[in-house]
Symmetry: D2
Subunit: 295 residues, 4 copies
């Protein structure tokens, strides 16, 4: 599927419009169909609002059908039969295509419990989550009543749709669906930003194996050229940032103990706002360090 400009979507025939946006809401072209009447749109946010209005106006039966149109998370049978391109991409972002056996079982158990309780599939906007946060989310939502859970599911459906729309449509405005995770290393031994520090960002998992999200190196300003995570939601979850400060100070000829008091520094923290900007800096000498949630 290739990107479309908002201008194209405003100008094309209604059929084309519906075809292009048919899967913004999973297997539910009726939403695009209703939104088509509101053309032209001044921006992608306005387009999204029109589609969301169609969902909000829909009957309970239709809303339930919308929910049921979504696949289970990590369902092997469904994956074998084929998901939409979008669902496949989203589930893979969570690592659902490479689960360990223990993880697979945990997801299957959670899916079954959820279906048994509510009669419809569990839906979550996978790109805002990690495996751990999804399993915690299952636990909480299982305590909801059916009506609250329908509402919650529609909310997640809309988040999924917003991210799909953001990928598909080129517009001057942007939907507020992205977050950012950044860092900065200040060498308070020399009073300068610390360049050349190797950094690794790891997504921690209680259940299975942790996963390296990115490896990078600080630039002359002690920052990274690219944000650690950017241009997408920062998934809710636990992370560890590791900074190779031992080598940095050794390379500068600073007198160190043997082995150095500080070598690989781990900062462990959680992300709770996928659309926010989270800044996790490191202030460091060979003998001390500090971090804080910055901005």
């Amino acid at each position: 599927m290739s990107q479309k400009t908002l201008a194209d979507l405003n100008a094309c025939s209604k059929d084309e419009f519906v075809a292009e946006l048919a899967n913004i809401f999973e297997y539910s072209p009726w939403i695009a169909e209703q939104a088509a009447a509101s053309r032209p749109f001044a921006g992608v946010q306005q387009l999204f609002d029109a589609m969301k209005s169609a969902v909000d106006r829909a009957s309970p039966e239709l809303r339930l059908a919308l929910i049921k149109a979504h696949p289970d998370l990590a369902n092997k049978t469904q994956r074998a039969a084929g998901l939409t391109v979008e669902s496949s991409y989203e589930q893979n972002s969570l690592g659902l295509d490479r689960l360990s056996d223990a993880e697979y079982e945990a997801f299957e158990r959670a899916n079954n419990a959820y279906r048994a309780r509510f009669g419809f599939p569990y839906i979550v906007c996978a790109r805002r989550q990690t495996k751990d946060s999804v399993l915690r989310d299952f636990d909480r939502r299982l305590t909801n009543d059916a009506s609250a859970e329908m509402q919650k599911s529609i909310g997640e459906v809309c988040r999924i749709a917003a991210l799909r729309l953001d990928l598909l449509v080129v517009s001057e405005d942007r939907l507020k669906v992205h977050g950012r995770l950044s860092t900065h290393v200040l060498d308070t031994h020399s009073g300068r930003p610390a360049p050349g520090i190797a950094i690794e960002l790891v997504e921690l998992s209680e259940l299975g194996t942790s996963r390296v999200v990115t490896r990078t190196v600080t630039n002359a300003d002690g920052r990274t050229d690219q944000p650690l995570i950017g241009g997408r939601p920062v998934p809710i979850g636990r992370y560890e940032l590791q900074f190779s400060v031992g080598r940095y100070f050794a390379d500068r000829g600073v007198a160190l103990s043997d082995p150095p008091f500080l070598d690989q520094i781990p900062l462990r923290f959680s992300v709770s706002e996928p659309e926010g900007h989270l800044h996790v800096p490191l202030l460091v000498t060979p003998w001390s360090y500090a971090t804080y949630r910055g901005s």
Copy 2:
């Protein structure tokens, strides 16, 4: 073997004196025999100095014999045949009685390379080391020449002897063979020491599995009732201290994100001076923390 007072050792017969101290230096009663002439001793430090003088005065042949009297580290055949009580205790403190296969092989390879190069067994004061630090020590000492390495080995023999003497003899003075590792948690959110924080001290290992050294909880003063490590050398090596701060702040009703930005905080550091006092405090709010090598 039961402890002796210095007064007893000053008063007993020479034969008894030598029998009691025969194994302070592994299988080398001649050292106690020479030291006996200097009785009475004003303190255990003076006793140790007399024994060390005997070693210093000894001929190269005798010093080599002293070195060769020691067993290999982690040698299964020798362990099966039986070590001295002291050697067994010392090697076990390093975890040499429960090595993984990979670790066992690494030690065997190192022992063999060392023996092939120097013709005598590798000796290190095991109670001042971790498995990782011993393997690094092997690597370095393999680059020594034979004479420097003899000198180094005698130094380690004396460290072993000092720790044995400290265990055996009750005296008003103490040999300076112990170190201390301590911590302190300051809650800078409320401006008070943080009580009730669960702490875990882990010895890290590159080769094999990491090992929990101790689990404890902070007291009303934010400290631990006992030092994390005390009354013995603090083994050279890499460690991680973990503090359960998420639960601490949640229990106090502090507003947190979900999941909390900080939950389990790891401080990773190395010990380089087994006889020193290393203080590793944590200053913490729900959104920031700092540590430093204190005193």
Copy 3:
């Protein structure tokens, strides 16, 4: 007046006992007289409790007389006529014997307003206060009703008495009337305590001139040999600690900017609990520093 042991006070005649303690409560020997009946005392705390009980049992008229037995704070006429030794010592600790004209006027205004409102002199335990805190205390207490203010005054009378008793009587136990202010300088550039740092503690004053409380130098452990304030209450008030770190780092040959980024570091804080232990450490490199309320 010379110190007495508790044993002496337990053993002497009733007249001697009353004579010795006549001025523990200003010009009010009847309190000692009543307490005498409870001899012998196991400790000075028990003695104080007996005296305080006499005050608590006294009639409103007697309690008012006790209050009125005290001089005004900073009243020149009364000072000229002569205060008790104790009152003189206490008022001088506040610096009331060397007020500027502006300060003198502020105290006179406050005393007059207080007397006009309540009909008895304002009493405060001067050794727990600074000039600034007394003037703030005046403002607050002027909003009390007469009954609450009587109660408050008796409380201050008892605090004064406790400090006088602590000075007079030598006993194995101590009244809890002293606090402590301490500091500690950690050089996180070298990972060591910082010795030889010149420190100045200044009591700040909004009204008049600030006053140097003490000048000292850090010892080998980065601490001061004596607490900055100890063996007495730490007066409620605002303070500034100044640390000469520029010279310290320059003396150690650390590369600095010119002029050095940090030279004289001021830490400004307030004391609110005169009987507590307040620890105000400094963690410092040539380019950064931190402080916190420690313990």
Copy 4:
């Protein structure tokens, strides 16, 4: 004098060009005259380089004359007779138009000692200095030999010229003559930037009275809308930043001691690089704070 575009200066007659730039170097139009030959200039940096080349090429006599064309600093007689607009502006930026008597005397003494030693006036780029730093600069330069001091003086003359040129000429490129001083307040008690904190920046003076440089308030991002100092060199000197954190936390209903442990926080530091960016942030809770030289 009104600003000129570089295009205008490239296009105008030589006489006009020289007239416009006659005072870039104090009373020395010959420099502009020589530079005119290199027109057109691609940028203001190139124009400055051309003028500086003229100075570098000049004979020792001419260079001395250039130095002597400058007025003394803080010379009352010369001020009464009238300075160039530029000199007047520059000297006033240092506060030389409002010296205390003690300051005036210190400057006169320094000027006289300098003239007696070198036979030409002391020149310094005043906009890069504070009164204190100038007096220290006098002391140092008095130890130079005449040749080094000529060289140093010409360097300062060129710095003055660059700042004058930057004011006069509008070009797409900019001379690197400006610095920046900024701050940022992070509330690590709530994990957010701290808005609404009153800040005062004071230039400290050992000799005379300190001077408020700016008063401002932090914005929603914990920063200030404008840099504390920007669009000009940051004068070499000692400063104190004061942050009203007591009121900030009280306004948010945070439980504080009475009086609050921290109320007005002073950060005292020196500036050494007038053209650099100096960032001095504050990380603060009601019970702790930290700062560092950031970037």
